[in-house]
Symmetry: D2
Subunit: 467 residues, 4 copies
């Protein structure tokens, strides 16, 4: 019988709290990467190793049973283990000693047999990553569903597209949201793929040769991978960290997609824009009127922290010496947990952010009008180009824009009175040229594409998930 994947399910309510942590983290993710979870995962690896060895007849089944029972029952204080691990440079040594002491004499030689510290710790961290990653994916999926709905419902909501900080053209909120959704879907898909395909068991023994296991090393590697439902690597990856890079990149990629939403949300919530505002916001100690877009802000802060952590993973990946590294490996542990933590926090805050967006269509309309129609200059120019040529059309429209700016007369009114324009466009063409809703290009079709892609992804994921 396949054992349950964890000796004791971590519960979000057990996640370590803190003065600042709640701002930046998600309890469901924290509970999966906390010290207690890591300790359990380490014991789980030892347990499954014994079980796998017994299944191959490498160790007596009584010994394996004893080890499995002890690993499941052992309750250690992470801080105690941590303290004892200092002299060895990692916590596996004292933990193996405790586990060994917890089984009867005959079983002791079979504890941790053929394994090295890195086998156990890497595999345990991979298990943490999978569990935390799964929680993160669930959060991202929740946000994506909300965004998909919003893209659908706001596909007719026109607002100003902005490029380089300037109003440029009309677009729809639906397309804007579809853009968030697409990047998020892309990032989530990458993460799902890494969690499903790239997380591998680590098992190579002291120097990656599986010494001490004779001919049974490779079957044991396969059996252990199978029991833990992890990929079986071609070789032990003690100093080949490509898989860690894939994990880190996937996490940081998700954070970037999430951060972009936060970036736009902060900008849209600006007092002068106020097109999408937080339904519930941060209050201020000094300014009672303020509704700060707290979720968006914290999402952005996460996005600013992930790249430095990722850079550490990439920097160290090239520094793993020989068969096991003297520092580069150690630098990974907390960096990887931090990156999982930051990603979890970003995802959780994104769920809050997107579920509490208040669309202010009136503000969008009035902002659209604030340039007096200048953001339809491309629309006007496009209708002049076939007759005037690009340069001349451009010049005509630019002249109108300049006259509008100089005179204070709205651009639409200048255009309506411009001889060069009137030579080319009749009244109906003019009206169309100056209607934001008539200058949305393929916005609607693009929303369809994004929603379709989203549905396909969800569908494929569900199908794969239920195999």
């Amino acid at each position: 019988m396949r054992p349950s994947s964890s000796t004791s399910e971590p519960r979000p309510e057990d996640a370590p709290g803190g003065l600042l942590a709640p701002l930046f983290t998600d309890p469901s993710v924290e509970s999966e990467i906390a010290d207690a979870a890591l300790l359990q995962a380490i014991l789980e690896v030892e347990r499954e190793l014994a079980a796998a060895q017994a299944s191959l007849g490498l160790i007596p089944s009584e010994a394996a049973e004893a080890i499995q029972n002890a690993a499941s029952a052992l309750r250690l204080d992470p801080a105690d283990v941590g303290r004892l691990g200092v002299s060895a440079g990692n916590p596996i040594h004292p933990l193996v000693r405790s586990l060994t002491e917890a089984v009867h004499r005959e079983a002791r030689p079979f504890v941790h047999l053929g394994a090295t510290s890195q086998d156990v710790l890497d595999t345990a961290l991979v298990l943490l990553a999978r569990r935390a990653g799964t929680r993160i994916v669930a959060l991202l999926d929740e946000a994506a569903e909300t965004l998909a709905t919003l893209a659908q419902t706001s596909r007719g909501t026109v607002l100003a597209a902005r490029t380089l900080g300037q109003q440029a053209l009309p677009t729809t909120l639906g397309l804007k949201v579809a853009g968030w959704l697409t990047a998020l879907g892309d990032g989530t898909e990458r993460l799902v793929r890494v969690l499903g395909e790239r997380l591998a068991v680590q098992f190579g023994g002291a120097a990656g040769t599986l010494a001490g296991l004779g001919d049974t090393g490779l079957p044991l590697l396969a059996a252990l991978a199978d029991r833990l439902e992890l990929a079986e690597p071609v070789l032990p990856w003690h100093t080949d960290r490509q898989r860690v890079l894939d994990l880190g990149s996937a996490l940081a990629g998700v954070v970037a997609a999430v951060g972009k939403v936060g970036q736009d949300a902060v900008l849209l919530a600006q007092t002068e824009v106020a097109e999408v505002v937080p339904a519930t916001g941060g209050s201020s100690t000094a300014m009672p009127h303020k509704q700060n877009p707290v979720d968006a802000i914290l999402v952005r802060s996460a996005a600013m922290r992930a790249p430095g952590l990722l850079a550490t993973l990439y920097s160290t990946a090239a520094l793993h010496e020989h068969e096991r590294a003297a520092g580069a490996w150690h630098a990974e542990w907390e960096t990887l947990r931090s990156l999982l933590s930051v990603t979890g926090g970003a995802a959780a805050r994104l769920v809050e952010l997107v579920s509490a967006l208040r669309v202010q269509a009136a503000a969008m309309s009035s902002n659209l009008e604030m340039t007096g129609g200048l953001l339809l200059s491309e629309s006007v120019a496009a209708r002049l180009i076939p007759r005037l040529g690009r340069d001349r059309a451009h010049d005509v429209v630019a002249a109108c824009a300049r006259r509008a700016a100089d005179s204070g007369v709205a651009f639409v009114d200048v255009v309506r009175a411009d001889d060069a324009v009137l030579d080319v466009l009749d009244e109906a063409e003019l009206a169309a040229a100056l209607d934001p809703k008539a200058w949305l290009g393929a916005a609607d079709a693009l929303v369809d594409r994004a929603l379709l892609a989203h549905q396909r992804r969800s569908h494929q994921r569900r199908r794969r998930g239920t195999r």
Copy 2:
């Protein structure tokens, strides 16, 4: 007829040289990312855009032909264009103006029709990335072939595995090289996948709505993607930089795998180790005897530079505001070119490095003996554990090791005289326990796995390449 993929093939000999550049770059890659190549790629995008528009009947075929001819014939000095691009903030504006001037009056309205600067520059950079990436993959493949051969020929060459800087166990050079090969293959496969699947055309018009193209925007997007043999994105990705992150991660991932080889090569070439030395090495101005492992050193330096560049891509990815970014996009351009350049340099230097490795088997042997057999302590302990239990076996061997250290007698000799050991092991068992070749675990089988995986990858790549 499908046009050739570039108006004029960049040639490695045209790559810009320099005082330091030759150390860190590869001419074949540099020629693909140089200013001249970027300028050509921009013109190519404009050319294919016109062709695609004509094929859909959006513009007159005479105009398209004129634009295509002009784009192919136009010879501009990158520095001139660059200077003129300063006020607009990018070089597309003056370039479009030059192209427009180069066609007859009737064709002018159809130049750059419906496109925005970012459409053209992003697509041109993607073309550069594909071409430079292809060159990089060729270099990586060349290095991988050499490594595969070396893994095969050195599978029986025993040397000390080292963990945390200490000799740990015997391993084989074959397995060590197989480790390099596997990471490199993994990294290359990721890069190939990104080059083949994730490089997409950019085309969204001024604000990503394809405004100005009516119903023809999406067909045009598809046609342009097809002509340029790039992926067609679900949406314009002006501010969704997930694809850029995939590209950057793939490049930096390759550099990490390459850098690990450099790291090991530097360590193996140390005077005191001297197990694998450069066949040709850097001479020194001051020290005539020295043969510095120059290729390994430069490979390492590349590995140290890539993570910072990658972090910039991730940092900026979350900062792309609204429909087009005010700075984050601009920060990508040179960063991406630098990353391509550094990766190319790393790959080229790796080719040199692996093709000029001199294996010093004698040094390996004598180093293996320098601890008096201490690195077989696990071998001895493993043979004691079934009888003594892990703790007792560990203690017995540790006591031998300590006595060896204190007395200066070789560990093998201490072991041979140790009563606790002799109680358990007979002469033949002792000899086996102390023979490095008999403690290689699955090293040989692991080499097979790595070579098989390498062959499968090569085969799949070739098959896909010839479709």
Copy 3:
């Protein structure tokens, strides 16, 4: 006689141009860090080394003269030297050979005497850094003067302060600009200090012992430092990169201060804010009306690139092995030049940015009114607190804000009609509470402080400069 500090002054017009480079770089800085300048600096170090050795009687004065003449006259193509430097791993070797060949037979033994490649290249890069840094400081000073004037002239210009993207309180443009000025002054002062105090000659010979120079090594170190007007280090700093970190930090610190101005300028130029707009702006290929804040955008892009480069310097600083590093040193060269280049570009663009700011006081006023006085809520609350207590005052004002939001009535009007408020404040107090100009706190005095600090710094710098 002290030789001129460079054999041939680099001229900005000789700076290498390029398709993208003009956007991101400053010619005056580029000309100081280009390959040609580096080659000249290397020759200069060799020249001054010979001169210093002659002055101490270590080598014949005829030989020194020959070397000095040859080093001044030698004209080499950087690309040629670069190509020849590949096998040695740096360009010093072929350059020393060329220099040696350029002197008569008797002088040859005295070329490069006692030096190692790193001595020469580190010192040459330090010379480049000082010259480029000096150019950068000049640009920063120019921007600071403009900002100081603007802070003075706009100290009475009231606009909305924004916190977390929301209008918060009134402030003055003078204070905002004073903030930019202060950070810039701080960053510039740090850079000036590093350029003046922390740039040291490198001279240690092959392994940092000054072997080969007997008792004259230390006097020669001092003489060489003196001739090059560089600091004399306690020890050779071949693998102690603290000085490089100081330089890198100073450059990146400046870029951060510059980038903050760009960040604010982009936000202030937004169509919906439009309080400070570029006098001349980037035009768009697609949108004739747009005036993009190109300088601000490019300033921001520089700010996004510097941190990754700096991280590379810090990462490598800890990796310099033993007496000279196997990769970490090489990774510094181009990284440091890139950082100088990015900083130069940021500074040059800042000069453009601040010299072409158009203050739109009317927009500031109207934006200030757009919340109906909400950003005076703190003003109102502060006047209520002494009588109502903080919590009650906060609640009263928050209730007014909520009523304003719900009813659409301006906050000022709600406040004027609120019984709880009217119980506490009389008419005059109310008017003051609702006047932005009366709620500026110490803004004016803070501007004075910033200007005074600026003047003191300028004064001290001038005084130190003329010693």
Copy 4:
């Protein structure tokens, strides 16, 4: 009376433990930056703010006393405060509410008067940084004293200097250690200066104008700075993060200096080098004989983590919008605490590392001989140059080196038999040329310089400390 600088001294034994934390952190530093310490520091700022306001007559002294008492007595669970701070986006809001509730009705309006969250949190983090920084400096000083002693005692211990991984020349352990000491002293001095000069109080009110305080804002700023013994800034630095950059750079600079020691220690402890080994080392679960250089390894891992954290500080510094940032500030908090933590761990591990180094002079000697004298090739060449010229001398020695390599005869013996050498050097000159102790250059004098600089620094620091 000046209050004690903290309401309750954090004690190292209260530092949060953990499974991995003990490896990477120092309890004395952790106790200063833990949530409990941050909460206390926040209360301390509120307390001193009230006291300062009372001292200036801004608030009634009874109210101030009540606030001070309450702030000193208040015992809150950081996790509770943290949870309540989520909606506001920082923990100051609920904390101020608790503090307000803890004082009698009349005092309540005077709690947190004129301050904004960022004033309090920035100042509290600065206090943490000073305290943690002081602990770090103490650790660094302790390590430096050990290194100074070692430099002195090992100034006559000759070993091979290594450049690019190759033995190059003889040097002394004294000089090598002096190099570590010098970089560490440099880094420590920078940190001390930042702690003493650059840590400033933050106090600007909601938008940096000190609104709400009338004319008393600036005197209050000065008084608060004075009470907290922090620098008084020219302006509030809400969005001017130059000071944070100085702090971060100083911490990361120290880590780089520490990391370099770890790097060398790992290399020197390699089995094949074994010149300096850990007196007590990490044991291995699999290999009973191993003595891993655990301290050096963990020092290195810290050095690999700091640059990414520093990059985050630099990245965000340019992104602080307007008067207070929407994310960039929030990204600083945990990053800064992590950087303090990593630096503390690196420093603590360095103390362990340097206090338990075992110098193996015999290994040094035998390694020195392993190239058969090749590392004296410069010594030989230098003695030939005056007679043969650099090129010819170089060629003669290179030929000897090649013959030595080809024949297996030791270089010293080849040289002793080489006609070209014998033409130039007599027996005594030859003996000197081949004696490592006679080719140490200025090593001894350089050690003197380093020790003198160390003593001067210590002296100046003590003198300043007792003012």
